[in-house]
Symmetry: C2
Amino acid sequence: MSHRVTDGLGHEEMDVINVSSSRRNSENLPYVHKVGVPPKQNLLKEIAGTVKETFFADDPLRHFKDQPRSRKFVLGLQAVFPILEWGRHYSLSKFKGDFIAGLTIASLCIPQDIGYAKLANMEPQYGLYSSFVPPLVYAFMGSSRDIAIGPVAVVSLLLGSLLQDEIDSSDNPVDYRRLAFTATFFAGITQVTLGFFRLGFLIDFLSHAAIVGFMAGAAITIALQQLKSLLGIKKFTKNTDIVSVMRSVWSSVHHGWNWQTILIGMSFLAFLLAAKYIVKKNKKLFWVPAIAPLISVILSTFIVYITHADKHGVQIVKHIRKGINPPSVNEIFFSGEYLGKGFRIGVVAGMIALTEAVAIGRTFASMKDYQLDGNKEMVALGTMNIVGSMTSCYVATGSFSRSAVNYMAGCHTAVSNIVMSCVVLVTLELIIPLFKYTPNAILASIIISAVIGLIDIEAVTLIWKIDKFDFVACMGAFFGVVFSSVEIGLLIAVSISFAKILLQVTRPRTAILGKLPRTTVYRNILQYPEATKVPGILIVRVDSAIYFSNSNYVKERILRWLADEEEQLKENSQRRIQYLIVEMSPVTDIDTSGIHALEELFRSLEKRDVKLVLANPGPVVVDKLHASKFPEMIGEDRIYLTVADAVLTCSPKMELEP
Amino acid sequence: MSHRVTDGLGHEEMDVINVSSSRRNSENLPYVHKVGVPPKQNLLKEIAGTVKETFFADDPLRHFKDQPRSRKFVLGLQAVFPILEWGRHYSLSKFKGDFIAGLTIASLCIPQDIGYAKLANMEPQYGLYSSFVPPLVYAFMGSSRDIAIGPVAVVSLLLGSLLQDEIDSSDNPVDYRRLAFTATFFAGITQVTLGFFRLGFLIDFLSHAAIVGFMAGAAITIALQQLKSLLGIKKFTKNTDIVSVMRSVWSSVHHGWNWQTILIGMSFLAFLLAAKYIVKKNKKLFWVPAIAPLISVILSTFIVYITHADKHGVQIVKHIRKGINPPSVNEIFFSGEYLGKGFRIGVVAGMIALTEAVAIGRTFASMKDYQLDGNKEMVALGTMNIVGSMTSCYVATGSFSRSAVNYMAGCHTAVSNIVMSCVVLVTLELIIPLFKYTPNAILASIIISAVIGLIDIEAVTLIWKIDKFDFVACMGAFFGVVFSSVEIGLLIAVSISFAKILLQVTRPRTAILGKLPRTTVYRNILQYPEATKVPGILIVRVDSAIYFSNSNYVKERILRWLADEEEQLKENSQRRIQYLIVEMSPVTDIDTSGIHALEELFRSLEKRDVKLVLANPGPVVVDKLHASKFPEMIGEDRIYLTVADAVLTCSPKMELEP
């Protein structure tokens, strides 16, 4: 029986030939491989290994290895400013693509920015400011080639709603704006910190399903907010939940709605949606929905200007400041009660902005197949927001819709962001006064048509099909946002994500295995009705690492399988269980609590005269079992390489017993 | 190739005979088992199954099945009051054991109670009150046969330190006491709630290692606190950290110490420790350390009384109220600012008390091999504390040291608690005035000798050997308690426990597999240096369920394995990788994010002209893969039962390619 596990072994696909031959040839041992002992590492190396896998899983310094110092310096500089690397291979043909893409996303972002600024309760020009400085900074430091930087709907809504809770934007616009810059500053600090300390994996704790629900809920909320401008309602609730908004809309139905506004808004909304529809039919027409917003703005502004519709209750943008970003360093609260509030809001907004930007970055990186260092991205995004907070910008990040347009328009590098930035600069300096007569209803239509894309019905259907718990997380976040507020929705999303992780480690699956006829393969008997139990032996598989969070459950679950089985056997007066085999292939790790649970299981079984047998524990587990002298406790010959092997050895022994 | 996974399958130990025979006999198929499809459950059943495994894992209602209604009522009553069940089989012989055990634990608990009450900053009689009512309630409702109920050191210290943060016990003893009862009430409510809603598994989130460290730290802290009484120091710090305490002790070395106190205290401490040492040599003498404290109290009281040592600076208990528990319902804060504080303190103290009681209950249940329903226990413990809070008791729970004595003294049922309770009653009514001259130093010695048992060096050594991360958790909790405070230590313990769970799901292990010569077994090449890689094929094993928290890491890790491998091959100008086989045996589950990661992996590989092949995914995984149409995406024939099978099919195909 040379195949018994005595030192440590990996996962097995063991087979009859192998077992039987090693059995037959136990004297001259032709096929026998000693169970491998992983080379013992010293403690420091072990810890270093864990730290490396946790924080430096992507091995960011591997290019630096074995390089002269001067080269290291250049590489370091290139790591911080990737533009130094890709800039050297930049060509005119690439610029052509970037130029067209940049113009396209600029035409899309200008009207969106003005609308998003309103979502954040800021004056329109702040949206444009945020599309000028941050993309420039990102172009130098970022490593994504397709992301389009600027204000986005969800972050604007979240920021606006968090800030509004602290300061009323209409009562005290100056302090409100200052708090916005403070929050933006700390959002940047948060992002840089996460990136620098390589804690980027923290954003992975927000599950995909929760994000889908949260985004869809935010889209609905944002769209509902637009009803104010779209219907020309003057008195509108400050709450964002659907009940308050619908009540607001309903109560103003008789005297508050303005038909001219509705006419303009609805016709352009129809136009924008039609443009979106076209691109679904023909992907090459991606530029139609991309420039449709700007066309709407120009057309509607012109119409309002010549018809004097603003005199008939059609609300227009009115004042919008000309010129580029004024400095705002001195507006950031670096002390006082707003420091803490700004910090808190900044952390939340910064994390959500990161989640969106990183998701976009990863998506396009995988589509064009280049590697993206998430932590480096975070440093770039953070720096951009810190600089932004000092130049009158609020939190900017990567926009889903504009990045997609950027990609489809054939961008090659972040130069498209520079082009966009230049167009925004020209707009701010020259064209902005023309936006005076732009009706708010048009901005509302543009926002609605933009956020509709955030509702991903297809993804929700897939989530429903694949994982019901994910669906609950998704719906929880969705309804939280829609019926309560963005913050509550976010809280629900995070809590459910964590609950899922905790549940997953608390209640691992277990299964009873049976032997498939004419094979030595043991399978879950619920899955394979033809699998038969071996008389006198109960085989249980544990489907997870055994940790303190589940060790007690695993122990009690196994004992309950045994009790159920024995009850059944008693009824049929069959042979009683003499061996309990625990198949441990999926048990990849175990901790002290887990070993205690195994010891308790062993003692409980001993009292019932049932022998505990382990099959195929992994290398880490075997290592730890030996450290705790568990094999000595249950008997060294009670740990087998495979279930088949264990059954083969137990069965004949059993015959001898009464 | 009928062995390919097409629907869903369990874990495999696949073998050559099986593979090759199925291969050979693909026409008449003698050995072929179709891969089993687990019976499709409808949604409601699936959810019900999950809820059952999560909250009713122990199937508490199974005895109620198929019983007449009257029988169900009796069973229900017995479930709430287990005494109705075991009481019917109670016998005189059992009572003999219980009587002796009860007397033993009573003699141990009386001096301990007086000392523990001081730890909680309460007057001595409250400790005794808490050893009178709660054990009685527990005896009727609890299902553990060995646990000894009463105040315990750690909970007393924790409660005292949390309460002291809110109200100063010397300035305002009445409100302090009222807050203590309020906290006790809510501790009970917390325990009942957790039990009733079957959330008992929540206490499993405090890892064994963290508890070991926390207990040891608390023991040190408690022992340090006793230096005040043991050295006869009058001015003593209110902080519990080692630095403050040692500074207090040191600053009073010249004028604050009292040699008579030290003489009495130290000699009896030596006696108590000697008694503890004896039992280590001979287990039968367990009664020596059990009655040693009472003997010390009697002797020292007598000595002080006849020598008038109290006139020479030896501090004595002085006032201690005679008579049983006065009612305290009207003292509980049901409104006002202290309601919230009491609630918060109660939740924390209640959880820690539960952790201790449940650990004790489980330990002895597994030693005597009876089942313990954790959630029912919680209801019993909670009820006992609610009743206690109304009868002048503070939080009681199971005591490690007294339960061990109870067990060794041969208790059979909870009747030993009733006996102890009666002895305490007699003490309160008759003997208590005699404790007036008991020196505080003796109580301090008794506490020190009791808490020393909480420092489990052996467990710490084992933790160090088995799991370094557990050791960090253990030390974190330990140093947190010793150098800061009980609350901080507890916070560290909980945080590290959670961090461990999160880390475990974020960074699963992966390994490169190689073929063991002359077998079809594929193993980790780091563990088995003799294992050889198959040319042109890279085999990677993922050692965990793939969830949103690790999906991205898994994907990038696999791509990095591939990049490293290809770099190496290029250097040696060997054949490039054409197939990437992902061994999925340990992947027990996958969620939407996980499937997205696989899809992204597939696309990335496609761009590099590497084919993705999966080996042996579990039933749940196969189910979800099919729901997401993943097999259609990568090709139905790219999912194999085993790595060996996959390699066998890929290798010949590869030969044909250039």
